[in-house]
């Protein structure tokens, strides 16, 4: 179980690295699909079928929107060069070096803090049901739903779902406002 998940995660990481370094934006989007659908397989293996269905839907919609954006504009990818050629001499691009330095610094700080977080987590597969213990006591009688995820989303944590719906409406209104063809002068 853990081995299969590790292999899929490594594939996802390779896809992510390729996606960020691809020359062509369209191939970058397609390798983003590797990560998204790999996530679907992980969800299925982790016994989360609802999440797998939602993730397939969302990933497909995101890919379609992004491909339409890229086909509408340009596929050309902008490359940051490691060195600048100026008057026949090549200089090291200081911005490039600065980016690498800041990136490594942030990674180290995050790794240090993550090391504290991971000590408080239970090991993989030995989760203690501290929060959701009451939810699992006779769920069909208390919520009337055979699917406990639905029970949590729409019953125990209904206000969260209300907030989610509000965010969705706000995002749709925002997209319509931004993409309005005639702007006000």
């Amino acid at each position: 179980m853990e081995a299969i998940l590790t292999i899929i995660l490594i594939f996802m990481i390779l896809g992510a690295i390729y996606s960020l370094h691809a020359r062509d934006l369209l191939s970058a989007l397609i390798s983003m699909g590797i990560v998204g659908y790999g996530l679907v397989i992980c969800f299925l293996l982790l016994k989360a079928p609802d999440l797998a269905i939602v993730q397939i839907l969302v990933e497909t919609i995101t890919l379609v929107i992004m491909v339409s954006v890229v086909l509408d504009s340009t596929r050309h990818e902008l490359k940051e060069k490691a060195s600048i050629v100026h008057d026949g001499q090549s200089f090291i691009n200081s911005r490039y070096v600065g980016n690498i330095f800041i990136g490594v610094l942030i990674a180290l700080v995050l790794l240090y803090t993550y090391h504290f977080a991971i000590e408080n987590l239970t090991p993989f597969g030995e989760h203690l049901m501290r929060m959701s213990g009451p939810y699992l006591e006779d769920p069909a009688a208390t919520t009337g739903s055979a699917n406990m995820v639905t029970g949590v989303v729409f019953d125990y944590r209904g206000y969260d779902t209300l907030g989610e719906a509000t965010i969705l409406v706000t995002a749709v209104v925002g997209v319509l406002t931004v993409l309005r063809i005639q702007g006000r002068k």
Binding site: I13, K47, A48, I61, V69, L78, G103, L121, P139, V153
Partner: protein, 112 residues
């Protein structure tokens, strides 16, 4: 433990993309990777070895189930992620229409 670390590595790759890429679309892709890694980490934490999917059936009434709470939270988060991605892409389209480029540095220079 290695799974948590790999999840974190995916998060770092997304962060690397957001910091170093110049293309707006690539920055959006990096943000999507960061989202995905967080979803996967939450679901990984809620997994119980040998547990069943939290759906009641005639055959499975009270087996050990995986934790439904992180799954419900991630379900909410995935939908919100879609909404925020659509918003980001709409802004990217607007930027391209206004400036004719996806290069974030050039957009920065061409203020006004």
């Amino acid at each position: 433990m290695i799974l948590y670390l790999l999840c974190f590595l995916l998060f770092l790759i997304g962060l690397y993309g957001v910091i170093t890429r110049r293309n707006v679309i690539k920055i959006v892709i990096g943000l999507v990777f960061m989202e995905f890694s967080v979803f996967l980490l939450l679901v990984l934490v809620g997994y119980v070895e040998g547990g069943e999917a939290p759906i009641l059936d005639e055959t499975i009434v009270s087996g050990p189930f995986v934790d439904p709470l992180p799954q419900a939270m991630v379900l909410t988060a995935i939908v919100i992620g879609l909404a925020s991605n659509a918003m980001l892409l709409a802004i990217a389209i607007r930027l391209y229409k206004k400036y004719g480029t996806f290069d974030i540095r050039k957009i920065n220079e061409l203020k006004g």
